[in-house]
């Protein structure tokens, strides 16, 4: 079955109701015909290209003249931006004066990309930051959308980028934790999921059963699931330890599903350690899946009894949003965006240790009513805040805020 993934906002009426969709359309009315140019550095692959592929058609659907352009760069430029990316994530990197020159030169070579007739120029991530030099040529308001966790950024590298960012009208971050000391307004727009994508669409019960049985998982016994890449920060070994504590009390199975780690030496090591920790326990299923196994992951999540995301560090954690959307009770590490999604005792449980994880899993396995209540509330929370139409609404608000400036409350007339 094909994923539906519509660009038409009206397709979401069945999920969000008419009043919500009408509200977004009316909000966009003051921006009807406004030319919004998004610029990033890659047309395919990666989360930014994926989200632009969804956002731009939806903006057009509500009457905004949205465009998406990709800057050009050579291998040398992308080696520099990769080093910058790593440094912003806190990885030690040396950014030399010659690397800075490359960054500036490639930016200058792309200035022709910037449309003079744009009302808004939206630059995604650090790669095209130098394009802001072109702002004097047009009338556009300039917004910088940072998709990176800057909470542990190398201050020297950030200082370099800040000189560009300060020339924008506003900066947009995923979480308040990523915001920086800047003189321009900073907006917080959390990411969202598409309920119609292969990762999230409804699946027939038979397909869920087939996927579970295909991996030797018993659909009739409780299933504890963590979906994550195999690395230290998602702590799969901690999840195995938590599972063993739970097993002393409950019959259950553990499924650890993540991307195949063939191109990541550390990932391979962690995967091997997880397999070793699992030993010969037939109720631990370690699944290294291909990157496009979206429907399989979807089926595993829908078949799970409790979903765990025991991260030690996390960005926003969209995998938690996906689990919550499926009405599952989630036990998540109290870090990054997981803290923004899980409201303790209301939409799930936040934990700080292996023991805490085990305790909460036990609590949920013992109390199906509690598990159901948390799952239902989690689904309602995601429906109200973390689906694509909400994301579009936040973007429209950001454009309006950039246009009008000010703070507090403004009254708008519908043209």
């Amino acid at each position: 079955m094909e994923s539906r993934a519509p660009s038409d906002l009206d397709a979401y009426r069945t999920i969000l109701g008419d009043e919500e969709i009408d509200s977004v359309r009316r909000l966009a009315a003051p921006l009807r015909g406004a030319l919004v140019q998004h610029v990033n550095s890659t047309a395919v692959g990666g989360g930014v290209a994926e989200i632009l592929g969804r956002l731009v058609p939806m903006m057009r659907d509500v009457g905004i003249d949205a465009h998406w352009d990709v800057m050009a760069g050579d291998a040398r430029f992308f080696a520099v931006t990769k080093a910058i990316h790593n440094a912003l994530h806190g990885v030690p990197e040396e950014i030399t004066p010659s690397m800075v020159r490359t960054f500036e030169e490639v930016g200058a070579a792309n200035l022709g990309l910037v449309r003079r007739d744009a009302d808004f120029a939206v630059i995604h991530d650090p790669q095209p930051l130098a394009l802001v030099s072109a702002r004097a040529n047009g009338r556009a308001r300039w917004l910088w959308r940072c998709h990176i966790d800057l909470s542990d950024a190398d201050p020297r590298v950030w200082a370099l980028l800040r000189d560009y960012v300060e020339h924008f009208d506003a900066a947009l971050f995923h979480l308040p934790d990523y915001a920086q000391a800047l003189s321009i307004p900073q907006f917080i727009i959390m990411p969202a999921i598409d309920p119609f994508s292969a990762k999230n669409e409804e699946l027939p019960e038979e397909e869920i059963q087939r996927v579970l049985e295909g991996f030797g998982i018993d659909p009739l016994r409780p299933i504890v699931l963590q979906v994550s890449r195999f690395d230290r920060l998602t702590d799969p070994l901690g999840v195995v330890r938590a599972y063993r504590l739970v097993r002393a009390w409950h019959d259950c199975q553990l499924v650890l599903a993540g991307g195949s780690a063939s191109d990541d030496p550390e990932g391979e090591r962690v995967l091997a350690e997880v397999r070793e920790a699992a030993g010969s326990d037939p109720d631990i299923h370690v699944l290294a899946l291909p990157p496009d196994a979206h429907r399989v992951i979807n089926a595993l999540q829908r078949g799970a009894t409790v979903i765990v995301q025991k991260s030690l560090r996390e960005g926003f954690g969209l995998v938690v949003t996906e689990a919550m959307w499926k009405g599952k009770p989630v036990v998540g590490g109290a870090v990054g965006g997981i803290r923004r999604q899980i409201i303790q005792d209301t939409t799930g449980f936040l934990v700080h240790s292996v023991e805490g994880t085990a305790f909460r899993i036990r609590q949920l396995l013992t109390n199906p009513g509690l598990a159901h209540r948390l799952g239902e509330q989690a689904r309602r929370y995601v429906r109200g805040s973390f689906l694509l139409p909400s994301y579009l609404k936040q973007w429209i608000l950001a454009l309006l805020a950039a246009r009008h400036g000010g703070r507090g409350v403004s009254y708008l007339e519908i043209p």
């Binding site: 109701g17 008419d18 009043e19 919500e20 009408d22 509200s23 009316r26 909000l27 003051p30 909470s151 971050f173 308040p176 934790d177 915001a179 000391a181 307004p185 900073q186 907006f187 917080i188 727009i189 560090r313 109290a334 870090v335 990054g336 409201i343 303790q344 209301t346 936040l350 509330q377 309602r380 929370y381 109200g384 805040s385 609404k393 936040q394 608000l397 950001a398 309006l400 805020a401 000010g406 703070r407 507090g408 409350v409 403004s410 009254y411 708008l412 007339e413 519908i414």
Partner: protein, 212 residues
């Protein structure tokens, strides 16, 4: 007779630059952050649209309980009732007084790591007509049923700040334009803080339908 025009209030979260990692920086932030930030954190549960009935709690209380482990302070902060505050200044003063008193009675407090900081956010709100109007009670009932949480938030939650007294736009219109004093009083007695905005809408519509 002036028809009632339903408006939606939609908000973008902004970063104020203030953050707290212990009691003293929490107090400093409460005293200095813009009023729109106090309003946002006191009403965050409503901005989130959903919360469990009876579990309304402001962000300051939640942070004190869950991140600082300050249970007494958290309980005291959770008792700050936005319904009793007719201005943001009043809410700010109450919050600051509670934290100040607690600071005076405690010998030491912890400082949390960066990942558990409290970030003072604020709301940048745009209010716009929803396109729905009402001139009669039955049109009003239909309008309430069509309204989303963004309209309920505007007419019920932010109304006291605009009116400068406890009340809401619905009651003001029902009493002033339709002479529906009893119904206006019934609606005025509803608090937006013991249920989410969807349930509040249904209760309002139910009361109007009963009157019809």
């Amino acid at each position: 007779m002036r028809p009632f025009e339903f408006h939606n209030a939609l908000s973008l979260v902004t970063h104020t630059g203030y953050h707290a990692d212990d009691l003293r920086s929490l107090l400093r932030g409460i005293q200095r952050t813009p009023g729109s930030s106090i309003f946002y954190h006191v009403h965050h549960s409503l901005f989130r649209r959903h919360f469990t009935a009876g579990e309304f709690m402001n962000d300051f209380a939640r942070w004190a309980l869950q991140s600082l482990g300050e249970e007494t302070l958290g309980e005291r902060l959770s008792a700050v009732d936005p319904w009793q505050c007719l201005s943001v200044r009043e809410a700010r003063d109450q919050l600051a007084r509670i934290v100040t008193d607690h600071l005076g009675s405690t010998e030491y407090g912890i400082r949390v790591p960066a990942g558990k900081r409290f970030y003072f956010s604020a709301a940048r709100t745009f209010v716009l007509p929803s396109g729905v109007t009402a001139s009669t009670l039955s049109e009003f009932e239909a309008g309430v049923r069509r309204c989303g949480p963004d309209a309920i938030f505007h007419h019920f939650v932010t109304a006291p700040l605009r009116l400068g007294r406890r009340g809401n736009d619905f009651s003001t219109w029902l009493e002033g334009e339709l002479g529906e004093t009893g119904l206006a009083e019934e609606l005025a007695a509803l608090t937006p803080y013991d249920q989410d905005l969807y349930k509040l809408r249904d209760r309002i519509a139910g009361l109007v339908a009963r009157r019809l």
